[in-house]
Amino acid sequence: MPAADAMTSHEAARQIARRRRRAWSCSLAIHGLLLCGGFLFLFPLAWMISTSLKPLDQTMRMPPQWIPDPIQWKNYLEAVRYIPFFTYARNTLVIAVLGTLGTILSSAIVAYGFARIEWKGRDKVFLVLLATMMVPFPVTMVPMYAVFRELHWIGTYRPLWVPAWFGASAFNVFLLRQFFMTIPRDLSDAACIDGCSELGIFWRVVAPLSRPALAVIALFHFLYCWNDFLGPLIYLINQDTFTLALGLQFYQSRQGGTPWNLLMAASTLVVTPIIALFFFTQRTFIQGITMSGLKG
């Protein structure tokens, strides 16, 4: 304080001007870096869209041509005709929606059990759950296939969405548990005093507060189902039941030559709904992560 008093008004004005200039140049530098980063990140996607509009013989031309000439919109029409695109999209949607619903319900219930109730051995069992995330998938593929074969579920969609209803996603349970732990005890204690059962507390108090976190795991699981390739490859047999991720494989041919422009067009179409979904649920999504207590 004495230092500030000692400053003359002239010096104070200069200091303010300096701060304002620094703020400006700071802001400029930040924008510059972000633009650079944004450009680098968008670059491949832009390239994908650019290629999707090119005629095949131009796709590999060097030096790279950004705006295709002519712009071949019909690539998109051909791409959706090359494979039964909309059928596959519908199939993928069914699996994704069913799986996402299951994941929301079961992960929430299971996470609640791990987060809000104190019971003997809880943390040890939770460690077991965490440990299951660390086993590489190829080795569980064959026994899982055997299980589903016994259940006669091979060739149906069930192996792809039923496990989600059993809290099979350890990651989602983990996330939700972290989140539930940040909800103040007083709220559930108050409900307890009002005579609520545990289930009641869950349904009435905790679940409504968790909407953002639930949105997060819903989005993650939906995304996972949308892009999942290995699961459908192994469990689906009939071609009409295939999903988009599997369908994308069909554009690639060993010796038949890959129609790169069609593949890129199809990929753009596959990515777009997800991007739109993310764009519209962004705020809830970010809110969910913010409140998930990952930071503390």
Binding site: L98, L101, M141, G155, R158, I234, F250, G256
Partner: protein
Amino acid sequence: MLPAVSRPVFAFGAGCLALLVCGCQVLVPQSQDEYVNGRIRITYWEKWTGFEGEAIKRVVDHFNQIQDRIYVDLITMSQIDQKALIAIAGGDPPDLVGLWSSGLPSFAEKQALMPLAPFMEKAGMSRDDFIKVYIDVNCYRGELYGLPTTPATTALHWNKRMFREAGLDPDRPPRTLAELDEMAAKLTKYDGQGHLVQLGFSPAEPGWWPWGWGFWFGGQLFKDDEIAFDSPENLAAFRWIASYTNRYGAEELRRFQSGFSGNFASPQNAFFSERVAMVMQGVWLANFIHQYAPKLEWAAAPFPSAAPGMENVTIADCDSISIPVGAHHPDEAFEFIRYLCSQEGLEMLCMAQQKFTPLKNVSPAFVENHPNEYIRLFIDLASSPNACHTPDLSIWFEYSDEITAAFDMVLFGLDTPEHAVAQVQQRVSAIWKRAKESIERREKAEGKVAR
């Protein structure tokens, strides 16, 4: 004591339940039916997409038309080896599966495919109807496990215009490997900065058969039930590969090479864009040339060998069709194979895929109307006594992967041919020893059970 729920939540829950029920019933594929319109339904998994897929579809549709007992359901599968493996192991395989001939031994050794000899006998088909090498490649320990559908052989393809430019006779291909090296040197050009702009030849272009070069030196891969990689012939082959690295520089070759990866089916293909003058390629190349480089002046001839007196060496492989163990309708499945592998069926399929047929008998119209100008060459090469193929070895993939790694190391100048070859021999021998133990162990265990 269910918690009270508000109306929208209830509606939402009801909606979900409905969707659940739907997901369990309606959208579950129903077509696991045995019979379709009174016909026996057999499933046929094939790997082909695009125009190759169209080709087999035409044959299947025709078969379904000309008879009414059997209905063949053609399903295009990606990752067909893996898919077939899991399905066969799981006990519900398709009735027919189209694998690559190189993958047959490992499946056959594990008794995952049905031997076709009994079926062929009943149907009156004979092995001798087919070109010998394609039967050999589908055999494991003398038993036939698949029939060839679309065969291929490899040959030297060269660019006539570039030959002329370099002062070479465009109609005279190299007759020995030494000649090839000489001509390659004449066909190689550099730019002002010392970078390659044109290459006469490279063993890495296209680099699809890194395990095969030994054949042109008289080498073998597997002899007398032992790994035979470390032989003077194979070593000579690797030395020849290393000679290209030494002559043109590993880094430079790599840089030049990298421009071609992923570019096979495009005008930027090394051969189509006239940046490489000579390549070893297969019978399918003509089709791609017509599509992507119609103005290319090219010709084909047998790839020259280094071993004196060894003529018409080629690599022969094919796509096969097999009946997995556990198929529901093997007899009906073989009916289709019999049609597919008849002269009519094969000519329909192979013409559409622009290859030749694996049959000894070929209709003159097939050869005349074939779009590949050099189809006669490829057919003759298949019958050559020096037509080589992948060995009858259940650990072929491990062997091939080791050779590929060694090839890369030698090509990049990261290893000497001697060391690379010795290492492959040593490693693969160990793998083979272990595999033989495993086979013995299994036979003993099964012997015990059978008793």
